[in-house]
Each structure stands twice: as structure tokens, then as C-alpha cells.
């Protein structure tokens, strides 16, 4: 499977509330709430770490899931977020200019 890279989308507002991430789009006021797994992916979406590495290092140990199926689920998930412009998804690393700021973590 080709390596995928994910970066936080542009023109978004976001905040981590405990285990969830709330994301709001400036352009259409779309509101999204990511669950715990989504929150880990969002926090790690720096544009340069391969998705497979994020899954292997963060998702699998934290949620005690099998690597192959977790990567498949994560791939589907990030592609869906990509369709909503919440994440940028690329088969090449993205520079810092492509990535939006991370949300501060509150009340964890």
C-alpha cells in the first residue's frame, strides 16, 4: 500500500475537548466532532509522518487493535475527512505551509 500523509486542512477552527476534537469550517460553518481515534489522527496530522507510522505508533498501542485492519480503517477515515477538506491527504509529504495549526488540548 502506498504511504499516505495527512495534514490539517485550511480555514478551520478546532479545539480538543478531552477525548473529542471539535472542528468548524469558516467557509460553510460545517461542524464536525471527531471521536477519540479521530482526535489522535488529527493531533498527528503534521503532513510529514506517514499514516502507517501514526497507526502503528499511536493508534495500535492506545486502542489495542490489529495493525492491518486499523490502517485500512484509518485510510478510509482520512479519505472521508479529506473529501470534507478537514484533512489534506497526499501520497507525498506536505510542508508546514500546507498544514493548519493544531488545536490546543483542553481539559484532558
Amino acid at each position: 500500500m502506498t504511504d499516505l500523509y495527512i495534514a490539517r486542512g485550511q480555514r478551520l477552527a478546532a479545539r480538543v475537548l478531552a477525548t473529542e476534537t471539535v472542528i468548524l469550517k469558516a467557509d460553510d460553518s460545517g461542524l464536525y466532532v471527531l471521536n477519540e481515534v479521530g482526535t489522535v489522527l488529527w493531533g498527528a496530522a503534521d503532513g510529514t509522518t506517514p499514516l502507517a507510522t501514526i497507526v502503528e505508533r499511536l493508534i495500535c498501542p492506545q486502542f489495542d487493535v490489529d495493525g492491518a485492519s486499523a490502517l485500512q480503517d484509518a485510510t478510509e477515515f482520512v479519505r472521508e475527512l479529506g473529501e470534507h477538506n478537514i484533512l489534506s491527504v497526499s501520497d507525498r509529504p506536505m510542508t508546514g505551509l500546507d498544514a493548519a495549526p493544531a488545536a490546543d488540548e483542553a481539559a484532558s
Binding site: Q10, R11, L12, A13, A14, R15, L17, A18, E20, V22, L24, A26, D27, S29, G30, L31, Y32, V33, A100, P101, A102, A103, D104, A106, A107
Partner: protein, 345 residues
């Protein structure tokens, strides 16, 4: 979106996070609106670095929804620097402005910085009425020109039409103007006392007969005027009256913290204390948070409860945060009348 927003607000309340903050960057203004409750003199506004430090603290505390308002916020020469800083901290930013200073280049900057909504106050579609309220000749034309600049950038613009005696018959004209400009429209009949307690402005409130007309206007119900929620059940009597002090608060241009912009209970000052300390430990905020619907001696047994959107801040300004707010009592009564009229028609 509303159920998801309810979930977010509920979660913020549960976690005691200040998810929504109204931040007035200045009380200075280039209009002199007859109904304004502010003292426009500058008594020592927060500096650029102080505002940035507060924004850092708010982001760390969990604030997502940030309203920048005033006064006229574009009178601050560092406005765009502060806006850029706020967006870099991933706040969802809305602006409240009279828009007099917004030119095309400003609209482009506002758009590029990812502002989600700009609210502009328009009092009438007739210049002679609007300009008499703002006391600035040409202000309606300038505000409309600015709205066109903002809309040309694809920005979401909300026209806020505060209703008072001077403009009570003009809201259909403002509503039509909003439609022509591609802006959203909201009506607000709330006139509050000045922040120093001077209640003379209350004489500007629209008479009950006009309020009834507004509440029975089919073009407004469900859009510009939201019907109140149904009567709270017994379980809801343990709920908080509103989000002020629970998941929301207000920051003044001098760093004062209040539970809400409409609830001027001094609860701490950010020049003396950190936000987190005020938010977690202020005795005033603790008192506000302790109030439940069942603790309201008059309102908890009122027969108009099902029509009421009681504001504890307005009640506080009338002398008792646990008491009724006469403006909301009047609105509830008129809502009840309007409901009867709508049901018989």
C-alpha cells in the same frame, strides 16, 4: 448542525470549559448610537501583547468560539494583528462591527484570515433613520458599501437589527435590504441599561403593541425571531438558566471578566490574575454556576415559563440575578399573546 452544537455545548458545560468567549477589544467607537450602553472613553485598553497573552490563555482553557466586538473593533490599529494571532490559535472567529472602516482590502484580509461571520448593525433601510440613531451622517451608505465588499469575498454577513422606538416600523425594509445584499438577518428588541447602571436607555424599548406585531410576523418566526423553548420539565429544574459563566464568558477591553456581555458582574481581572484562576475559582462565577432554575423564587413558579427566555444578566442589572427580568417578563407575556393569535389564525 444544531444537535451537534448542542452536544458540543453540553460537553463544554460538563467539562466546565469556557468554549465561547465574547471579547470586546475596545469601547471606543466612531458612532454614537442613541441606545448604546458603553462608555466610549478609553480608560486604559489592553495592549497588543496583553490581548495576545489572553488569547493564549483562552486557547489553553478550551475556548473555540471567539467573538471580537466593541465599541468599533477596527478602531484598534492592531486589529488585524490580533485577528491573525487569534486565527493562528485556531479560534472560530466572528466579528461584530458597524463596518464603517471596512474597505475592499480589509474585506479581503478578513476573508483570507478565515473569519466565519461578520455581524453588522443596521437600524433602518432609510438613511435618515439609521444615521439619526448612529449620529453619523452617511453611516448607512458606508455600512452597506462594506457589506457589499464582504459579500464579494464570499463572507457570511449577518445584519443585526436592534429594534427601538426610533426604527420599530423599519424592520421589513432592513429584512429586504439583507435579502438584496445576500446577508442573513436577525432582530433584537433588547435594550439594556448602561454599564454604570443608568436605566434611562430603557425608555427606548419598543412598546408592547409593536412587540406583539413582531412576534406574530410570519416572515420572522423561526428565522429572525426564535420562539422560546417549551416549558422545562421537573428534571430541567436542576439545569442552569443559561451558559453564562458555565461554558461562556465575556472579556472587556480592560481585562475584566464577566459571565456574559449582558451580565456585567465583575468576576476578576486578567491584569491581576490568570484566566484559568478566575474561571475556576472566582466567587462570582461560582455563585452564578450554583443557580438552578428551581432556585429562582419568582420564575420557577411562573405560568409564563414556557414562553420565557429569561436572561440572568438582565435580571442582575435590575438588582437580583435570581429575580425576574422585566424585559423578559414583558416578552414572555407578548409571546403568549402571539401564540394565541397564531393558533386562532
Amino acid at each position: 448542525m444544531s444537535s451537534l452544537l448542542d452536544h458540543v455545548m453540553g460537553r463544554a458545560t460538563e467539562l466546565a470549559l469556557p468554549i465561547s468567549v465574547h471579547f470586546d477589544l475596545t469601547y471606543r467607537c466612531n458612532e454614537r448610537c442613541v441606545h448604546c450602553y458603553l462608555d466610549h472613553e478609553d480608560h486604559g485598553e489592553l495592549t497588543t501583547s496583553e490581548v495576545k497573552d489572553i488569547l493564549d490563555q483562552l486557547a489553553a482553557a478550551g475556548t473555540l468560539f471567539l467573538i471580537f466586538s466593541g465599541g468599533e473593533l477596527l478602531l484598534r490599529t492592531d486589529f488585524f494583528e490580533l485577528l491573525e494571532y487569534a486565527r493562528a490559535l485556531a479560534f472560530d472567529v466572528k466579528l461584530k462591527t458597524n463596518a464603517l472602516l471596512i474597505k475592499e482590502a480589509d474585506a479581503i484580509r478578513i476573508r483570507n484570515l478565515g473569519v466565519r461571520q461578520v455581524q453588522v448593525s443596521i437600524y433602518s433601510h432609510r438613511a435618515e433613520v439609521h444615521d439619526a440613531i448612529t449620529k453619523v451622517a452617511g453611516s448607512l451608505d458606508r455600512s452597506i458599501a462594506a457589506i457589499r465588499f464582504l459579500k464579494a469575498q464570499g463572507l457570511r454577513v449577518l445584519i443585526a437589527n436592534v429594534l427601538m422606538r426610533q426604527n420599530v416600523g423599519d424592520y421589513p425594509g432592513v429584512q429586504a435590504l439583507a435579502a438584496e445584499l445576500g446577508a442573513e438577518f436577525t432582530l433584537d428588541p433588547t435594550i439594556t441599561p448602561k454599564m454604570d447602571g443608568d436605566a434611562s436607555l430603557l425608555a427606548l424599548r419598543i412598546p408592547t403593541t409593536h412587540l406583539l406585531q413582531v412576534f406574530t410576523d410570519k416572515s420572522l418566526i423561526g428565522s429572525a425571531v426564535t420562539p422560546p423553548p417549551g416549558a422545562p420539565d421537573l428534571e430541567a429544574m436542576d439545569d442552569a438558566p443559561c451558559s453564562a459563566g458555565h461554558a461562556a464568558c465575556y472579556v472587556s477591553p480592560y481585562g475584566d471578566i464577566f459571565p456574559c456581555v449582558q451580565f456585567p458582574l465583575p468576576s476578576g481581572n486578567l491584569r491581576r490574575e490568570r484566566f484559568e484562576d478566575i474561571w475556576r475559582h472566582s466567587k462570582q462565577l461560582e455563585e452564578v454556576r450554583a443557580i438552578r432554575l428551581r432556585d429562582l423564587p419568582t420564575c420557577s413558579v411562573c405560568s409564563l415559563q414556557s414562553n420565557c427566555t429569561r436572561c440572568p444578566g438582565l435580571a442582575y442589572m435590575e438588582g437580583n440575578m435570581r429575580g425576574p427580568s422585566s424585559a423578559d417578563c414583558e416578552k414572555s407575556l407578548v409571546f403568549e399573546q402571539a401564540r394565541s393569535i397564531r393558533e386562532t389564525n
